[in-house]
Symmetry: C2
């Protein structure tokens, strides 16, 4: 009779091994970090005596769940900003917040929170991808979980690196440091093909190959990525990555929502494992991955929660349940991915996909003791059918909840007993996370409080201080303009024709200024569109003074190229009111008495009106210069054009908007 | 200062009222069955003194969840038979089991189990549809939940009625009995347009209108239903139901997965409320309902779990979460149905859809006190952001779990405190449900054990005992047949030409007999298909005896029209082996010496072979008759056709199948 450390007896044991052995009254014998034997309780108890015997009657004993793709520290951003478009969410909230807050401490705390939630939800193995991965790895190891820890590399400056060269150096160091750890497998994470250059992808693959560690990346999460790749590289994403030789490394590809048949076959050919993230793909509206075809073509499939910022929890019960159901509804096929296979995806297949199939993912002698014990008595699991061998898998996948997990063990060590965490201090984590949320709230409140900060947060902005002399008047038609242009004191330097589509974002608090999104369409002499430009202009409230009948405007303007669609800015700025102005503008740069003026003849198209305006403007730098130019504009308006005083208007075009409260 | 019964203080109160009032430190005052006041704790405490004050600090107080479509007793069938096609699941498992087990006791027990699960998961109002609805209603009322209880009527015999006339009479009685109850609203449930005649639909509507109670039905759960309706009625389903005047009753339509724009507009026009069941629709592969369009067109939308046999739990947290996410992924629109609206669907909108918006669904003075108190400290909810007013809805919808529900109150009564059920005995329910599962297991095991029982379970079978004399021989071609047909002692009574496509389902245990699915294609003289017929034949092992060189076969055969596709039978019978035989059959009914014989000339097409066979058969009833007919067949074969003894074969066509183990 052999002695072991722990015997789990009397439970319904789901081994999830190659032949799906189940024992209705089963036992598991554990010594040190490993499983020594699995079988009927009577047999195991006849062969083994244990220091500790745990009675699992009425409970389920099964392998711990495998979360194949997540970003651990991001639990600290859970529900911070939800139900936004991907770009608004990512560029508007996640990245600015990450830029501000992500450091070693943030990563440790967020990882602790995630580890605690995972242990409580029965996850024993996970694949992370984030920054400061050494901190993440140390925290996970401290919590006692098993993990693939992937250090992110991308072409932009990252929270933990000013350049990708730094990232690559840090990654190499990180891999060296953690290689061979009993719980942690270090890994290289080129963030995604669209955020990495070819050179970065290849450098990452080289590290993975050199050290024999996995490469973990995002592939084709969005349709946009597919379109962009074709435009930029004239290649499909998977083809591009394959051609670069990246798949020579043992690769884990997260998402793969928009892979087509050719790309699925390439993934299969290169043995790339896919981490399916159904919740995140639905919540961010990325789409529904072709899981049925991937299964049929023999792709190694695993399932992951993605980060808590897009899920919003790390609940593998919900995730495998959704994986099992979504593919059925999406393909009208109720027999694809039955519960048994969904549980395999979340256990043995998951471990195999992560390259750890030899040591975990099923309850088999010789494998590490990574397991969970589930209560079956919570009413949502009741009753239990025994006729159909699939019923127990149905119960686990379709009905069981994370809260049914009673005990969690990794590497032979208990991480949770009777729902008490043994390696983490739940209260401290909760309290520190709460403190972090307060800081982030404060940061975002200050930023939101100030439209300018919000603008700055999305990048690309430059400031422009301008002082302008301006007069504006209603006129009937352009005949007056012709008079001015043909006047002997005037010479035309340049002429342009635009159509301008302006959308103003207005805020209840006028001190917030306003944001204008402008599309300038340049029109040739035949009335055809030559080119278009989009710009974002933020104007803080005017300080205006009058000189004679002209106006001195003092703008403090911030201008940025508007490289995202109007919709982005609409959702991002969350203005109280929006106003649309479209106009046809004829513009001349003229010299009058040798001074440069801008002359605009504007016909307002939207809102519908017959209004036509003449504007004469000039830049200025000093009070004296302003007075002089004001006098010149008055001369042009009054003396040359004969426009009466009462035709002059003080309005700005935004004032033409009907006020809708 | 007024006195109330209960004050809930210090919680984050989500009223879900028309302006979505929230109180970070809020209170609810409750007297008898109703809410008296909701507001900031300080204000409420200044105005009200209470017999009982419950400190809700750190917790969420919100309306209880509304499960808008379910079948309460079906929790007893949870995970009984999963991951099957809808027809196999419904016709093969659910309906036979229901026919056998559903009675008053089953409905009470199943409803108790569902009530217990719902109270634990924070549901306070539900809409049920089942049989013996008076038992269901009494059980729900006993458990203290609020419900719409809908008595099912359909054109087939039901567990609680031999005919629909009985159903209608029972329904009328049921409605009279329960109308005016403080917790139960009785309702009429014509099961679905495809399971009801026009007459039934109209009779149901008449009852609903007479008594002013809701009508609850399934509409367009599957694409099949859409196709069938068009074929049978030349109308879309919703148009047909609308034309019948059914929507004059206040209607709740479950599913509506396959409604098109026209039908959505009709539903809107008639004020029909839709209960969306995303889990069930995915799990049964029915599809994804057009929730975005229904929302845009102003349909009153609610969300339901459907029965636990197709979900497999009654967890409204999972359901609203899935509702919120699925529509985003399916439409590539991440801003549709934000968390706030998903929670509305599961609270106030749900109550409004069920016609109870006046009394429940939000926390407002004058409404009944139907509410839940949720813990926010479980780690999957941590941290909490306060900047964005939507964060708290995100937390509830995307992260909270049913297990976070700490207390549940309906109509001012506590149904659960600190997760202890107060109106139901959890242990007794669990134990009785377990007993029921054992009986059902046993029933299904006996049935599965016996192919005949399985056949009988799907209905339409008639038994046919037959004793047949038969000889069969290989021949080269049909010239011999011509000789026989032209013989002076032979006259041809009838001639047919078929192509026969046979699929045999074979079982390892040969005592199980075998099932043959046959498609008979009738061919005219030009070789064109006239018509086709499909039949299912179950044959138990032959008891054969030889007479001379002919064979006496004693069949005990069961024949049923095969009105479902081959695939159904394949998945349903789960045979160990399958065998396909196709042949071209020329058949003559002949009289030889005045005795009726069947003469077949069979050319085997599949498996590929040159084999051609002649068969001569005759029915028989006595040993003497059998001996006489055996002698006649031998005369024909030997004397007229000159077929040698060794050309005669004992095989049956199924024996031509290559054996694949």
């Amino acid at each position: 009779m052999e002695t072991v450390d722990i015997l789990l007896t009397g439970g319904m044991v789901l081994t999830m091994n190659g032949v799906m052995d189940r024992y209705a009254d089963g036992a598991v014998a554990i010594r040190n970090d490993s499983i020594v034997a699995v079988g009927p309780t009577a047999t195991i108890q006849a062969d083994y005596r244990a220091k500790e015997i745990i009675d699992c009657r009425g409970q389920l004993v099964m392998p711990g769940l495998v979360n194949a793709h997540t970003h651990m520290p991001m639990t600290l951003l859970r529900a911070m900003a939800d139900d936004l478009r991907l770009d608004v969410w990512l560029m508007g909230y996640m990245m600015p917040t990450e830029r501000e807050f992500v450091n070693e401490k943030f990563c440790r705390l967020g990882t602790e929170l995630s580890c605690a939630e995972m242990i409580k939800g029965g996850t024993t193995l996970l694949a992370d991808m984030y920054y400061y991965e050494s901190e993440v790895a140390a925290t996970i190891a401290g919590a006692g979980l098993r993990a693939i820890c992937s250090q992110t590399v991308l072409k932009f400056p990252a929270p933990d690196a000013d350049s990708y060269e730094d990232s690559l150096a840090y990654t190499r160091e990180f891999v060296q440091e953690w290689k061979g750890h009993s719980l942690i497998v270090p890994s290289v994470a080129p963030h995604a093909p669209y955020t990495c250059t070819d050179e970065i992808l290849q450098a990452c693959a080289a590290i993975a190959i050199d050290y024999g560690v996995p490469l973990h990346t995002h592939i084709l999460e969005t349709r946009q990525e597919a379109d962009d790749s074709w435009r930029e590289f004239e290649k499909k994403v998977v083809n591009r990555v394959a051609d670069l030789g990246v798949f020579e490394a043992k690769t884990i590809a997260a998402h793969c929502v928009h892979v087509d048949t050719e790309q699925i076959m390439l993934l299969k050919q290169h043995g790339v494992a896919v981490a399916h993230n159904p919740t995140s793909n639905l919540k961010l509206a990325s789409g529904i991955a072709p899981v049925k075809e991937m299964l049929e073509r023999g792709i190694k499939l695993a399932v992951g929660t993605d980060g808590a910022a897009s899920n919003n929890d790390l609940d593998m019960f919900e995730e495998m349940r959704l994986a099992a159901m979504l593919v059925k509804g999406a393909t009208f096929d109720p027999v694809v991915l039955p519960a048994k296979d969904a549980l395999l995806m979340a256990t043995r297949w998951g471990a195999e996909a992560l390259g750890l199939g030899e040591i975990t993912g099923s309850l088999e002698p010789g494998k590490r003791a990574d397991l969970v014990i589930l209560r079956r008595d919570p009413l949502h699991n009741v009753p239990h059918f025994e006729r159909d061998p699939h019923s127990v898998y149905s119960q686990v996948v379709y009905a069981a909840h994370a809260s049914d997990v009673q005990h969690t063990m990794v590497n032979g060590q208990w991480l949770m007993r009777d729902r008490e965490l043994l390696t983490l201090d739940e209260d401290r984590i909760r309290s520190e996370a709460s403190g972090m949320a307060r800081q982030i709230d404060q940061f975002l409140i200050e930023r939101e409080d100030n439209v300018l900060n919000k603008l700055v947060a999305i990048g690309g902005v430059h400031q422009e201080e301008s002082f302008e002399i301006q007069v504006k008047a209603r006129i009937e038609d352009d005949s007056l303009i012709r008079d001015l242009l043909e006047h002997s004191l005037v010479s035309v330097v340049r002429h342009n024709h635009y159509r301008q589509y302006d959308t103003y974002f207005l805020f209840s608090d006028e001190q917030q200024g306003r944001v204008r999104y402008r599309e300038d369409d340049f029109i040739d002499e035949h009335g055809q569109l030559i080119s278009a430009r989009t710009r974002l202009t933020y104007t803080i409230p005017d300080k205006a003074a009058e000189f004679d009948e002209a106006v001195l405007l003092s703008h403090s303007r911030f201008i940025a190229p508007a490289d995202r669609p109007l919709r982005f800015y609409r959702e991002y700025f969350q203005a109280n009111r929006e106003c649309e102005i479209q106009k046809d503008r004829l513009r001349w740069h003229i010299l009058y008495k040798g001074v440069l003026f801008y002359l605009n003849y504007d016909r307002i198209m939207v809102p519908e009106t017959d209004a036509r305006f003449i504007e004469i403007k000039s830049r200025t730098w000093s009070k004296g210069d302003a007075e002089y130019k004001a006098a010149l504009t008055t001369e042009m308006l009054t003396d040359i054009l004969g426009i009466p005083s009462d035709a002059r208007v003080r309005l700005e075009y935004v004032d033409l908007c009907p006020y809708s409260p």
